[in-house]
Symmetry: C2
Subunit: 191 residues, 2 copies
DNA sequence: GCATTTTCTTAAACTAGATCAATTTTCTTT
DNA sequence: AAAGAAAATTGATCTAGTTTAAGAAAATGC
């Protein structure tokens, strides 16, 4: 059950058997069915979620009720409202399951304790966050510099697995356009 | 000269005198006048830059020759083409001075060695990158969910010092609009 | 201090994408 | 399998932001 997350850590750092046991003991397994809210603003995000299977989405709900998708977390990804989780401030972003999902979750206290007991984890998370920054820069740039049709094609290339698992309005929201306009873009592209 | 960067590290971690000396020895002081290119695609980004004074900008130049600003780095900030610096791949973003600037720079080898010799630095950089992610999420959200006038007002609030130090076309590029349109927005707001 | 380049402004025509509204298709639930 | 709800399509109209162009203002170099 915890094998995937141990594998994930081992991508970047080495772990002793004791450390693996400690990690296993700290992460709680949680099975959640689709469309469940995991973080609901303004509640404080209590957990960092690691996705074993399924998919999560993080989005902002603006004053008009429009949903703006920040990111998706398929298998092997982490997700939470990071600012809320780390600083124990009110969350601003929803986190939800878009499919039945299996998660490993950890509280802030457990997270701190793990970093204290296994200092190498700082190394793992440093690298994880570095990569997240690089990915985010690219995403921002896409929004700033390209039209929707181009953005959609890049999305398809980057997440070929996700295309058929996500409702279309969520992809539209991720690309930063209305479902109506996205529908037109798709039909134009397919012709 | 290296006092600022030591102070910066000490915001998040403790350092011994020896460690401070090691850091001082690893970062090279560099004075650069304005409008100098520090990273030029597709050259590999050789340094991570810490800004003592002045200001840097990171931007992407698209195929039409349009400049898309990803971020600014005033005093106390770090900047480089992170992907290029870390993975030794071809850079994609320009890094330039927008003012005469004083920098402390470190090569990839020195950076790795520092992290090896002072493991706590992993902790510092983990926190630094966490905060960068939180900031970037916010920026992405602004672009996705608000109109330019609103974005501009938020920019003013967030970087009151920068407003008068940057040419207007750079701010426009940061906000994701043309200089022409930005000029209109400004005059509309001031009335 | 004058000339040249760069930046900023204003205006008119244009386009990517939004909004509103109605219809069809697909997914859920029983 | 039927009914209801949610998601996707299509069309008409509207708007935020672009493009092109030309002139005015600032900044820079000599």
């Amino acid at each position: 059950m915890h094998a995937t997350i141990i594998q994930e850590f081992k991508k970047h750092i080495q772990l002793t058997v004791e450390e693996e046991a400690l990690i296993t003991a700290s992460f709680r397994y949680k099975k959640v069915r689709r469309n469940q809210v995991l973080v609901q603003p303004p509640d404080i995000a209590l957990y960092e979620h690691f996705v074993i299977s399924g998919c999560l989405v993080e989005y902002y709900l603006d004053d008009n009720g429009t949903q703006h998708t920040l990111s998706f977390a398929p298998q092997g990804w982490w997700m939470t409202d990071l600012r809320s989780f780390l600083m124990k401030q009110e969350s601003r972003y929803f986190v939800e399951t878009v499919e039945d999902s299996e998660l490993l979750i950890v509280t802030r206290e457990q997270y701190d304790e793990l970093l204290r007991k296994i200092p190498l984890l700082n190394n793992y998370f440093r690298i994880l966050y570095q990569n997240a920054i690089i990915g985010q820069e690219e995403r921002l740039l896409n929004v700033l510099s390209t039209k929707v049709d181009e953005r959609y094609l890049r999305f398809l290339k980057k997440y070929p697995q996700l295309e058929n698992r996500l409702p279309q309005y969520l992809i539209a929201s991720y690309l930063g356009v209305t479902p109506e306009f996205f529908s037109r873009v798709k039909s134009k592209i397919s012709r």
